[in-house]
């Protein structure tokens, strides 16, 4: 129902929405929870385990009960707290965890079995047979218990992530947060003010209370107007600061467009990383209920929430209401509800000596509420007098207050533990917690408005003074209520019926006591045994009460019992927000070569090589499969000429007098003796003696060198060179930079490679002037280019490099000339076959566990100090190694990479393993399958027969061991 004259919703405008298909209306400014309440809907959900009817408990983000699914289709949003969801026209919400409907939920039979389903039930019952857990028990339990579900489809909604920086981050915009922000902003600091609510003002919007002689909400409006007028203030509504991290970094979730029907292109949520020099936590405090029999009946709410719905939305769950409290704050609810014209039938205060602060309301000091009546909503409560006498009252709503817990969660995100304050019966932040963070107001245990205003102002001033700003606080504090809230502890009312603590996970007082009785006496054990505090609300309304009951059950006091650990996030964050931008193509950057478009025009399928995309093969008419294309391209290179884009190899330009000396250090073999115009193969080791990478390095001129790395290890090699240079070669005359992106480089390979090049070079080359492993400057159509006579294919081959802006044009030119000679482009598949035929290694072979010795290059390690030399000499890295060999099938059959090698007569089991294969292909040149692999002492076993077994693919083939190089072993083709 709506209360006339109350609430700050816009009653002139009506918004249509639906809940479980029924149509309702609310107003701008409503939450889904307030609009449902105004429409008389009290039952909003079913509980997790027992499917008990539940209604709204809070008016905050800590809501454990009123979880609904909003929207439909792929982007539907389950487990949305109705207390947070703002109303918009056309909003569709559905209840969760019920079947078939919310009012008739057949799973509620679980509640009848409740005597058997208490703490530890699953652990004790579903122990055996073991296999039944996964196949039978768990699926049924999951079906019966649970919350809302995602659609299972890809979420098409937009999410965003962003960074922000400030001098002062103020978390919470109640009286403390507003004062902190105002004082700091007036001092000139860059301030970010976040509130998780849609409006700034915090609890001042939910109370009938004056600040500075005017209604609280008007004072808020004044402060806000001032903050809005300052360009050093950033106001962030609907933004929950979810975690505190090292270095003044805070995570925050902004709900950008959950509150509008049409986001107009805005993202749904944005995850912020806010870097703040200082921060003030002014997150307020959360009221906690008192546990008593059947205290989960829809209509039983927190007293502060009942008051909040009245003042904020003019909504109430019924006309007949009562309040049950152990502190003065509950009296304010009774007072305000009575003033609003509701029939407050009882103010029950568990304190014998309490005096009513609620005027004419019937007052029951020393009484307690010990039970409730009703089916799907509250219809009555049972009171118990100090002398044991009982009374039953008809009510539609009950406000309960057990005191307040400061929202100190963020202070504990970096390992600090809260401390217990007996006078307010609550945990407060410890003296030292998150560096740079101070706590002010109710979050710090200051439970009066004046206390909040004062602490906020002081915290804001102190924070920016540390940063060098002049901040004034003196006599700046507005007049406000400063009456402390008196309280006498009451956690649970003894008596019959289940008294609920954790509403979201269905944990009762009895469950906690049972955990203690079974010696789960540590708070962390109790939590896991009962699931107390493990739901999406993380026990915000129940943890302190539960551990107080555990303390009582184990005969300890509360500080001794301790708390569980608060971890980020403060409230749930969609994974989609944290991973914003990472879906689909956003998952990883894409790197394209200059020939990419040309390759796509030829319908070449692309394969990923690191972040690069490289053509797999270039199909011609009639080729429907990679193999015919690959075989053709291999023959083309061996017989005529092929062109391949090799720009993805890492290219590092090195200059200086000490480059030779530097390369001697990072390569296993010697480079300082290399003459300008010559190129050399180099093997790079890690410090532990294993191979890191290989490639060629060309000496372009006396002081100018160019290193190439493999595509996969380019980043690692660059990092390694930086390391060696900065750590071990300080003061050497060496400078280097990656030029991978700056140069396009193409391999031209095959017997007609020189013919092709001489077609395009401005000045022709010959074998004498440009022998194998030569390099030099050339020009193509007047453009300066670099030519290297190097070969990965084993053919007479060159690599020609031009600045990237000429790459696409040169590619087209080379391919056209190659085709005129009967050749053409070749892709990664052919490249791989060509190198396997030659026994050349890639990272399939140098995979991090192989040494120079293993790949037959042990003698390349020169007698000089270089990275990895000492460790490579360890006996275990030289003796009885699995060594690189070639393999060919003795009687046909397929060879695969990843197969294992055994003696022919041996049982193919792990104990008899003699090695494994790393690369395999069909060699069109040799007309048979070929593989490379590592075989125990393989260097000495050429000619032997081994058994190749691939258990996964069902392959078992006898193979002959050969040298790795199976084609042109003398290298004659390289030098012609």
């Amino acid at each position: 129902m709506r209360i006339e004259g109350y609430g700050r919703v816009d009653r002139d405008v009506s918004l249509d929405f639906s809940f479980d298909g029924r149509r309702f209306a609310g107003h701008p400014g409503d939450t889904l929870a307030s609009a449902l309440m105004a429409e008389g809907v009290v039952l909003t959900g079913r509980s997790f385990k027992y499917h008990r009817p539940r209604g709204v408990l809070t008016d905050t983000s800590a809501e454990p009960n009123a979880l609904v699914t909003v929207g439909r289709g792929a982007g539907r949003d389950p487990n949305t707290r109705a207390t947070v969801q703002e109303l918009y026209n056309g909003l569709e919400a559905r209840s969760q965890n019920r079947w078939p409907t919310l009012s008739l939920d057949l799973w509620a039979v679980n509640d009848l079995a409740a005597p058997f389903l208490g703490a530890g039930f699953y652990y004790k019952t579903f122990m055996w047979p073991r296999a039944f857990w996964e196949k039978l028990y768990e699926p049924i339990i999951r079906r019966a218990a649970g919350l809302g579900a995602l659609s299972g489809e890809a979420d098409g909604e937009r999410y965003e992530k962003a960074y922000a920086f400030c001098d002062l981050l103020v978390i919470g915009a109640g009286p403390a947060g507003l004062m902190a922000a105002r004082v700091a902003a007036e001092a000139g600091a860059q301030v970010i003010l976040c509130t998780e609510e849609p409006r700034f003002g915090g609890r001042l919007l939910a109370e009938a209370e004056e600040v500075d002689g005017q209604p609280g909400h008007l004072w808020v409006a004044g402060v806000l107007a001032r903050l809005r007028g300052m360009d050093n203030v950033r106001l962030m509504p609907r933004t929950t600061v979810t975690g505190a991290y090292d270095g003044g970094t805070y995570g925050a979730l902004e709900r950008v467009s959950h509150h509008v029907a049409d986001p107009q292109g805005a993202p749904r949520e944005c995850f912020w990383r806010i870097v703040a020099q200082r921060a003030v936590l002014a997150a307020g405090a959360l009221e906690r209920p008192v546990a008593f029999g059947d205290n989960d009946r829809p209509g039983v709410m927190l007293a502060s929430a009942l008051r909040g719905y009245l003042h904020r939305y003019g909504a109430a769950p019924g006309r007949q209401v009562a309040v049950f409290t152990n502190n003065d704050d509950g009296h304010r609810t009774a007072r305000d509800l009575a003033r609003a014209g509701l029939n407050v039938v009882a103010l029950v205060d568990s304190r014998h000596d309490a005096e009513s602060l609620a005027g004419e309301v019937p007052f029951f000091p020393g009484w307690q509420v010990c039970g409730t009546q009703g089916r799907r909503r509250l219809s009555g409560i049972t009171l118990r007098a100090p002398d044991g006498r009982r009374d039953v009252l008809q009510v539609e709503a009950l406000g309960v207050s057990g005191g307040y817990n400061p929202s100190l969660h963020l202070t504990c995100h970096m390992g600090a533990r809260p401390v217990w304050r007996d006078d307010i019966a609550a945990f407060v932040p410890p003296a030292a917690h998150v560096p740079g963070l101070t706590v002010a107001g109710s979050a710090n245990g200051a439970f009066t408005t004046y206390g909040c205003l004062t602490e906020g102002a002081e915290a804001g001033a102190e924070a920016v003074r540390v940063l060098g700003f002049r901040a004034e606080v003196a006599d700046n504090i507005p007049q406000a209520n400063n009456t402390p809230n008196r309280l006498r502890r009451l956690w649970a009312v003894p008596g019959r019926g289940r008294a609920w603590l954790d509403f979201q996970n269905d944990v009762t007082v009895k469950d906690v006591r049972q955990a203690a009785a079974e010696n789960y006496a540590s708070v962390e054990h109790m939590k896991r045994y009962t699931t107390q505090g493990m739901a999406t609300d993380q026990g915000k309304s129940s943890n302190v009460s539960a551990l107080a009951i555990l303390a009582d059950a184990t005969g300890r006091d509360i500080p001794e019992t301790g708390t569980t650990t608060f971890r980020p996030p403060y409230s749930p964050i969609a994974i989609a927000a944290m991973g914003a931008g990472g879906q689909g193509a956003g998952f990883a950057p894409e790197r394209f070569t200059t020939s990419h478009e040309a390759s796509l025009r030829r319908a070449a399928p692309m394969v990923e090589a690191g972040l690069w995309y490289r053509p797999s093969y270039f199909p011609v008419k009639g080729e429907r499969h990679w193999r015919p294309a690959c075989d053709r391209e291999v023959r083309m290179v061996r017989d005529r000429v092929g062109v391949c884009d090799v720009s993805t190899l890492g290219k590092i330009d090195l200059q200086g007098r000490d480059v030779g000396r530097f390369l001697d250090c990072v390569y296993a073999n010697t480079f300082s003796t290399l003459k300008p115009g010559r190129t050399r193969y180099g093997l790079m080791l890690r410090e532990d003696g294993f191979v890191m990478d290989d490639g060629t390095t060309a000496r372009l001129a006396e002081l100018h060198w160019l290193m190439t790395t493999t595509t996969a290890a380019a980043g690692q090699v660059m990092r390694h060179l930086d390391w060696v240079k900065q750590a071990y070669a300080q003061g050497w005359d060496v400078r280097f930079i990656s030029v991978t992106e700056q140069w396009a480089q193409f391999a031209v390979a095959g017997p007609q490679a020189r013919d092709l090049l001489n077609d395009v070079l401005d000045a022709p080359i010959d074998n004498l002037g440009f022998p194998y492993m030569a390099n030099g400057a050339v020009s193509i159509g007047g453009t300066r280019a670099r030519l290297f006579r190097i070969s990965f294919s084993g053919e007479h081959a060159y690599e020609v490099a031009v600045p990237s802006r000429y790459g696409a044009a040169l590619w087209d030119l080379l391919v056209a000339r190659a085709e005129a000679l009967g050749g053409g482009p070749y892709g990664m598949e052919a490249l791989n076959v060509l190198r396997i035929e030659k026994g050349h290694i890639t990272h399939a072979e140098i995979h991090g566990r192989t040494t120079a010795h293993d790949i037959g290059m042990g003698r390349m390690i020169a007698a000089k100090d270089c990275i990895g030399r000492t460790m490579a000499g360890r006996p275990g890295l030289v003796n009885d190694r699995e060594e690189l060999v070639g393999l060919r099938p003795l009687a046909g059959g397929t060879l695969t990479a990843g197969a294992h090698l055994f003696a022919p007569e041996a049982d193919p089991v792990r104990e008899n393993d003699h090695g494994y294969t790393t690369s395999a292909c069909f060699s069109p040149t040799l007309g048979e399958e070929r593989a490379l692999g590592f075989l125990l002492n393989g260097h000495r076993r050429h000619g032997e027969t081994v058994r190749l077994v691939d258990h996964l693919r069902g392959i078992d083939t006898l193979c002959e061991v050969t040298a790795p190089c199976a084609f042109d072993p003398t290298g004659g083709r390289l030098r012609d």
Binding site: D246, T249, D722, A727, Q730, G731, W732, T870, M871
Partner: protein
């Protein structure tokens, strides 16, 4: 977590690559395998101050020695591996 690169200023830790103990700076000068093996493989695991190597990979590519506390997460100093006036 944030690190203040001496060249670039305060940056988010996502710009940096962690390597390990700064003991890697003191490479054995001889070729004694035992000395090398100890240097390469043996590490202290202190609760308290450590000196770590970080690489400003998404920044200036400087290798850095970061002195920090594994218990409090406080960062005490960030220095260049390569002395600023080394060459």
């Amino acid at each position: 977590m944030r690190l203040t690169c001496p060249l670039c200023g305060a940056r988010d830790r996502r710009e940096f690559t962690y390597q390990g103990d700064a003991i890697m700076l003191t490479r054995p000068s001889n070729d004694d395998p035992t000395a090398f093996s100890d240097w390469l493989h043996l590490r202290d695991n202190p609760a308290g101050r450590t000196r770590d190597l970080w690489y400003h990979e998404a920044g200036c590519c400087a290798w850095l020695v970061v002195e920090r506390d594994t218990v409090t997460h406080a960062v005490h100093s960030v220095a260049l591996v390569e002395g600023e006036d080394a060459d």
